[in-house]
Amino acid sequence: MIGRAFLVCRLAVKDLRHRPAQALLLLLAIAAGTTTLTLGLALHGTTNSPYARTRAATNGPDVVATVMPGGSSAPAPSTQARPGSRGPTMTVAQEAAALVPLEHAAGVAASSGPFPVTWTSLRKGHTNGGAEVEGRSTAVSSVDQPKLLRGSWIQPGGVVVEAGFASALGIRVGDQLTLGGNSFKVVGTAATAAIPSYPDVCAEAEGCFIVGNVSSANPGLIWATAADAARIAGTDGPIAYFLNLKLDDASAATTFADRYNANTSPSAPYLLSWQRIRSGDAQVLIKVQTVLSTGSWLLALLAIASVAVLVGGSMSEQTRRVGLLKAVGGTPRIVAVVLLLEHALVGLCAAAVGLIVGWLTAPLVDAPGAGLIGAPNAPSLTGSTVGFVVALALGVAILATFVPAIRAARQSTVAALNDAARPPRRRAWLIALSTKLPAPLLLGVRIASRRPRRLVLSIFSVAVTTSGLVTVLLIHATGSNWSLGPQVMRVTTLISVMLIALAAVNTIFIAWTTALDARHSAALARALGATSQQITTGLTVAQLFPALVGVLLGIPGGIAIYNNPNHTGPTALPPAFWTFATIVLTLLAIAALTAVPTRIGARRSVAAVLQADAT
């Protein structure tokens, strides 16, 4: 028993060492999925510590109370906002006065404000956006004094931009901004714990009020002097007020806020606890997690196809090895176990790579940017995260290896020793159809159709990749990237690149294994007068049929992923031009990637191939 176990391990390890390039490709294919899954799982709760640091550094409020123009129950942003309107029953002074009783409420230890707030459009060079401008004193506030990260605090004509917002729009100290038609100089950037970071300033603030053409964009926070804020608001501009409160018991902030929010009177203030602000800060990461988890599933599916293709390809090269193992007394079970173990080992390595890379890169992906102070600590890898990632890696490896392993175990020993190609599956309709094709294409179609499972893998691989790319195209086409923010877009781009890379590997290996399978037929065709060019063209064109099916399946797949049940708004469809371009470019890429390995395969010496066939 020990001897057999030793042998199985030796054969698995030695074969991996014998074919390092293939083992590395397998590892990378599975590691792409495990890394993204690790990232997705590791992000949970990683903003807690930067938020706590920011809250401590800014003496952040436990509760922020807001009164809005026309009362705190003012309509939701964008569609119902009426620029320049004020509630019919309240004056500015009355709005601010509504907050005063809170300063002396039971349980309140300290406060700052009320600070006037207005919303306006922002322009910096060719960049347009929206801004939430908060009027502040030039003096230091006892509660919520934004922590300056660069430059100096506000001054007349000089504003400070929330650091996350500044980072996203590329705003630097010294830049000139236009706010509501007034020009200001950026004198500093700062972090705060009183509102969620950009682009989720409005994530938790009900009634976050956006004016006019700003309504299509998420506003970022800018601090200005109270006088400048009033100037930006204009005579009739909407002015709201923020009041920052410190409580005796910070942990009771949500209960405190809920007690006051129970009053639904239009003139009642709306209270937001620090816990809800923190969860608003996590919105970016929730979106990143959504993209990562969707991406990791797509990559895992693609990895299954990659491993199946790679294993199928290696089986074409290892037929004699299987035959030899059986000839010297290896049972079908040992043959299957060697193959499964070999790829399970790669899967385990890929799980380890994914866990390490995911763990190391998580702080880069979930970095709070400039919106919060300090990078989050490297996330801790919990048992469940490790379990999920290992299960995914082993699942991919074993699922993709299972069919080839069983097939190898069942293969005739003599046929395997002779390295005989598996007999083709003949289909009368396909034969009848292909007889009308030109000779090179006929050969290509017949060879490609010999391996229906490989055809399915090819379609599957292209369909998964196209789905992912169409989803990304939809994000760009619908302008969702504005609200998703730079972190999400970085991750989306990264996953797109990984999808394309894996799909390219799949395409090359499918072409290579097809060329390997076709070596005898191709050599014979060349012996009878066909050129290498004709063989290459035939095989390449034959690969385009399944690719076309894959693209046509992938486009609705991508639309379905984007318009998932959590998607709000009308069903989005990609522009016709982009759809057409996706089809054409995908087919061109596949043709190019297929032509190279098939051309190399078609150049083998005819005599050598036919001679090998005869021995």
């Binding site: 030793f6 030695k14 014998h18 290896g330 049972t331």
Partner: protein, 245 residues
């Protein structure tokens, strides 16, 4: 059954295809191979001699007929049982050597012993001993790619002997070798035969038959001739033109 009969075939058939495409690779063969005998099987290409060898060793299943090894019927055995038969009772030597490229000479020889469940240390010791016997102790750690054709075939013979089989079946063992390497391999077979091992050798080379006890000829899947020889001697080998050492 006579206890001295090691391999027995009765009405053995192997058919491929059907209808007009039916091929009788082995057609109604009756054959006894005695313990300690060296049997040479000859015939033109495609006459079915390799197929017969595969059937005798349990590499392939007959379409009809009876087949026994050491008194045990093997024609109805499961794939698993056939694997165990190949592991313990039969050693194979192939024309193309069929060594695992990624394993060293020693590891290749250890393979059957480990499959048989021997402890790694025992398998290693046995492999060393066999490589020494075939004169390759100094090449034990070389990969097959670093060995000559003759050396590879000697490794393959050592591997075939790893589990002390009752019979070694060799399919064109010198087909890929030059004259000097052929002489090396034949001397090895002769030594093994003199030690009491049963050998069945499929070959095209009439000179190899010179060291056999018996020669059978095949044509179109059937046995057509049988010749009992005097038995191999060193003189027979020395008669090979240009091979005198």
């Amino acid at each position: 059954m006579n206890e001295s009969v090691l391999l027995r075939a009765r009405g053995l058939r192997k058919l491929y295809g059907s209808g007009e495409g039916l091929v009788r690779a082995v057609d109604d063969v009756d054959l006894d191979v005695m313990r300690g005998e060296m049997l040479a099987v000859m015939g033109p290409s495609g006459c079915g001699k390799s197929t017969l060898l595969h059937l005798l060793g349990g590499l392939d299943r007959p379409s009809a007929g009876e087949l026994s090894v050491a008194g045990r019927r093997i024609d109805q055995l499961s794939e698993r049982a056939l694997a165990q038969l190949r592991r313990h009772e039969v050693g194979f030597v192939f024309q193309a050597y069929h060594l695992m490229d990624e394993l060293t000479a020693q590891e290749n020889v250890e393979l059957p012993a480990l499959l048989a469940g021997r402890a790694p240390r025992d398998a290693k010791r046995r492999a060393r001993q066999l490589l020494d016997q075939v004169g390759l102790a100094d090449r034990a750690d070389h990969l097959p790619s670093a060995l000559s054709g003759g050396q590879r075939q000697r490794v393959a013979i050592a591997r075939a002997l790893a589990n002390e089989p009752v019979v070694v079946l060799a399919d064109e063992p010198t087909g890929n070798l030059d004259s000097a390497a052929t002489l090396e391999v034949l001397r090895l077979f002769e030594v093994l035969h003199n030690g009491g091992l049963t050998l069945v050798i499929v070959t095209h080379d009439e000179r190899i038959a010179a060291i056999a006890d018996r020669l059978i000829s095949m044509r179109d899947g059937a046995l057509v001739d049988e010749t009992r020889l005097a038995g191999g001697t060193r003189r027979s080998l020395a008669d090979f033109a240009g091979l005198e050492s």
